[in-house]
Symmetry: C2
Subunit: 625 residues, 2 copies
């Protein structure tokens, strides 16, 4: 028996079977609903207000929330035609997706697809090369690969054009393949797309590969968010319901970006709309291993369980049509190679953009996206690990946590017991995003509201109050629900920062180095760009080193993908990085556990590692003491 579920705002409907959940209906309808835990009822993010025949379990909702009519979409079973309202806090709304990056530039323009203009000598009895070899010879590539239909059309094109022609070549691995041939020596439109597929956000850049210039950027949330917010939730979803829907959702996300990019380009260049899809001749994708697996429709199961083995770290170069991407059907799709199940191609891109793999200096790279990956190395060796940092910085595991979108508190400062906050889009505060949480905890700690273990000092401020979840600190009175952090919330953040710091410490320990030996610390990832480094040092997330040693790369995954799109040398370097990187699995490492335990304090048990923070704290606390 089927029921119709209608979602508001938007009035989008889905048909579901009796007994399916409202979250299932939202996934089927493609309605983006916040969901961190992937339908387990534990994160409390998929808040909805329902009207119609249904049965709900309360999940983590309080009696107050239930009384206000809130239900969890994942815990609500559809029993008849019904309507569902998605309140603002559960909607995926205007966001702050980082598309900018800075780092190395491509040394030359040798793009993944390239237009070559040929003006050939007509053959003669003395110069009797065959048509194909004449073209191959002019291109300087005797191994040229040409599809049969194009080979069949070649003689007529050559002769009708007076031996002038333009050829689009794809060359993913040095082997050149003909994509299109046109009469006359001219610029064939040749656009390439670099795309960073993050667990949370997807960002794409359209590059005119004839000139190397970026013509448009676009971003969106990964539509897979309805299947869970972190990679483990996605894998669980695939295990329970199959991976096909995940693949559809990510392909749909990327195709949406292609449409955005094309609209933007057409607007700028006054092109006739509707021709762009066919002009995208090559695509480079950067993403973590789980994202690449879902894009390619590869089995996710073995990523989840020890020994955490991907199907492929270096996927073959595929075509847009094989993946259902709306570009030229034969457009090559290159995935930046990853190194392991939890150190993916996004990290390779980070390294590539930083150039740390080419220098003598010892560098640490931290990618604080939805996962926390850490890499240490120089031109001779690279070692990397994943810290399973948890989603605290991305809005998970913190009651009032949210992603960096409109209304998120992104900066906090406390002085003289006054608290001031700024929000993204200057909107009414709705929650706190990662950079805001770091600021808040660092400032609360500096102000003496928190002890070294991160516990709220009950008497420290009138903003401290008791709640159903223990003590909490009210950051902002808010609307129906105040924006506050509890002891539990702070503990979550501390666990996350401790995992990242411990990961760095173990890598250094492995090669017998110390934090002070680091010449450079690169911060990559959407969230990293907005971090206040001093506050991050105060809570012990980042090492206590001079500010000038830190370099913010921004969305380095996108930047690295673009490098690979534009330069053969960069594609080779990306493979070299894959080959030279050693992966360290921390999941069963006693050294990691030791380091992690030592880091579960503000900033750390070993204050010798944070001399500047210690000095700052001594200076600040004095007046309030």
């Amino acid at each position: 028996m089927g029921h119709t579920v209608t979602f508001f705002p938007g009035s989008i409907t889905a048909e579901v079977r009796d007994g399916e959940t409202v979250l299932d209906a939202a996934i089927a309808a493609g309605v983006p609903v916040n969901s961190v835990c992937g339908g387990k009822g534990t994160c409390g993010k998929c808040l909805v207000i329902v009207d119609g025949p249904s049965e709900s379990a309360p999940g983590v909702l309080s009696a107050d929330e239930l009384a206000l009519g809130y239900r969890l979409a994942c815990q609500t079973v559809v029993r008849g035609d019904m309507t569902v309202f998605i309140p603002e806090e559960a909607q995926v709304s205007e966001h702050q997706i980082l598309a900018s990056y800075r780092g190395r530039e491509a040394p030359n323009l040798t793009p993944l697809t390239e237009v070559r203009k040929l003006d050939l000598a007509a053959p003669s009895l003395e110069d009797n090369l065959a048509d194909l070899e004449r073209v191959a010879c002019a291109l300087g590539d005797p191994q040229l690969i040409i599809p049969l239909p194009l080979l069949r059309s070649l003689p007529a094109i050559l002769r009708e054009s007076g031996w002038k022609l333009s050829i689009m070549l794809s060359r993913p691995d040095g082997v050149e393949r003909v994509l299109t041939i046109e009469k006359g020596s001219k610029d064939i439109p040749n656009y390439g797309m670099a795309v960073d597929i993050g667990t949370t956000t997807v960002v794409a850049e359209l590059v005119d590969l004839n000139t190397g210039r970026t013509v448009a950027q676009a971003s969106d949330y990964n539509h897979q968010l309805v299947c869970g917010e972190d990679v483990l939730s996605r894998i669980s979803y695939a295990e329970e319901k199959g991976g096909k829907r995940l693949t559809e959702l990510v392909v749909d996300t990327v195709n949406g970006l292609i449409a955005q990019l094309c609209a933007e380009r057409d607007r700028k260049r006054r092109f006739h709309p509707g021709t762009c899809d066919e002009d995208i001749a090559s695509i480079v994708v950067s993403g973590n291993t789980t994202m690449i697996h879902t894009l390619l429709g590869l089995d996710l199961r073995n990523i989840r369980y020890e020994p955490y083995i991907p199907v492929a770290n270096v996927p073959p170069v595929l075509t847009a049509s094989e993946l259902g991407l709306r570009a030229q059907p034969d457009a090559p799709v290159l995935c930046v190679p990853g190194r392991a199940a939890y150190v993916g191609g996004d990290i390779t891109s980070d390294i590539l953009l930083s150039g740390m793999h080419l220098r003598d200096e010892l560098a640490l790279l931290i990618d604080v996206g939805t996962n926390g990956e850490v890499v240490l190395g120089n031109k001779d060796w690279i070692i990397g690990c994943s810290t399973s940092a948890g989603p605290a910085f991305e809005g998970g595991e913190v009651a009032c946590g949210m992603r960096a979108m409109t209304g998120a508190i992104d900066k906090v400062s406390i002085s003289e017991r006054e608290i001031s906050v700024s929000t993204i889009g200057n909107a009414k505060p709705r929650g706190i995003c990662g950079s805001g949480l770091i600021d808040l905890i660092a400032q609360m700690f500096s102000a003496g509201y928190l002890d070294k273990k991160g516990r709220i000092d009950t008497a420290s401020s009138e903003r401290v109050r008791s709640s159903g979840r223990g003590m909490e600190f009210v950051v902002h009175p808010g609307g129906s629900r105040a924006i506050a952090v509890s002891d539990d919330d702070i503990a979550s953040v501390i666990r996350t920062k401790a995992a990242i710091y411990a990961g760095c410490a173990v890598l250094l320990q492995t090669v017998d180095k110390r934090f002070t030996d680091l010449d450079r610390v690169y911060i990559a990832g959407g969230f990293g760009s907005y971090i206040d480094i001093e506050n991050a040092q105060t809570i012990g997330l980042l090492p206590d080193l001079p500010r000038e040693r830190f370099e913010l790369l921004g969305n380095a995954s996108l930047g690295g993908a673009k490098l690979c799109l534009m330069s053969e040398a960069m594609r080779r370097e990306a493979r070299d990085i894959y080959s030279m990187m050693t992966y360290l699995d921390l999941s069963s490492s006693p050294a990691f556990f030791d380091q992690y335990s030592s880091a579960l304090f503000l900033p750390h048990t070993d204050m010798e590692q944070f001399p500047t923070v210690r000095g700052r704290l001594a200076g600040r606390k004095a007046p309030g003491a």
Copy 2:
């Protein structure tokens, strides 16, 4: 208005439009009718007896033949439903197709498709290669290409098989591509087919690539024969009616051979019939440039007109499904590279089998198939040309000429004015094939029936008589038509042999060498194998060198294709031969014209070049003088 034409024997029907010819109907029906000139009415081979509404021009038929009811299929227009009888002489019947060859053997078994059996270590936290890279690493090829569907199935296959698997790889250009993956470490059936596509005959060999052993051979006439007997007729046909039918006919011929090969294999190995198609995992094709172009559906036009430019001499490696061949759909199809419009991949195969491109000694290679190609060289250089020898040795341009099939006179000797002949299959003589013509003319010349210009001495024998076509020599009284050669017929043979000899002479002249400098003379091609070398020297077709310097390669085109099927080194050598060969166009060469003119005698104007023949003639003629 359509008419039905029914052909006998066989009772095969075709529908044609009013005004089309009986030859058109035969082509449409796929009925093999002899046709040398491709429908011009000049060769007189497409004899038929018709019954029903039709209009015929006599063409080259005599009043006697017309009176006997013979018509030319190409000159008979269909005007209503009719029946057509194809008499024996116009049928393509039991044939003597050369499938054997001798020459080099593959140095090792590195076939175009190869089965690799892997017993992999299961991954662990320490050995965490991804599935694809684990396989690629075990295969020793980091650049392994794998189709997406196979990549998707890889993790389950690996884990369900306990990390034991068998992989079929194709490696046309050193790049390895996965064709199939099966669970368990076992022999996947891996058959390869080498095929020589000649203008007249097509020969194929099925090789078990797991062992390198030949399991079956098969041959057939090229079904394109209904569109004309030589390459120029085929090209004309394509120009007038499009090349599609030629492609269909040659594909049909090859698919017929595949069926034959599979039936033979199943009979020998007691396989369940019907599974073979899918077991053919790779194909190597050797053929002249026109044949390869028709197989691939490439435009033939530019091969015909100066400067004679093929679409491709080194076609890309394609798949069986792209070409409509009944093998594994993804089976690679490699065409042995050719050098020019009239020196094709068959000649490259000849050279490869001979090994002349590897030795210090100066060697000449003559391929006397439907065309006459000549190659001169050693390990440092190779120079080749085509002599447009004409079809005299293949049954064309000679009234009683026929291909080497049942009933063809293939050997002639004349002693004491007695003539003795042998026929293929010991059947009733129906005509004379190439080797028979050489014997006949040499023996007639030795016996004094012919002068140096090849003219029949009217008084030399009671077998000499006057005919509608001048004087003729009756070889055999025959049935309705006597088997006889006329002055014109002999002149045709002399033109053909002169062209071949002149081609050899020009190549030698180009590098400032003489025939006596030759260390080795290779004879390749179906017809070459049956030549009596002494008689061929007597007429001046082959140079006057000691017998031990001649080496008969047999069907070297097939032999070379098989070498490429079996060995990567041989595939590389074939490309090297393509690269090192210089092509000499004789069509506008004054040197060729001079040499040709000097060779239009028996054996030659310059008798200094034929000292042994001169001695033999002096010895023989003495008694009869």
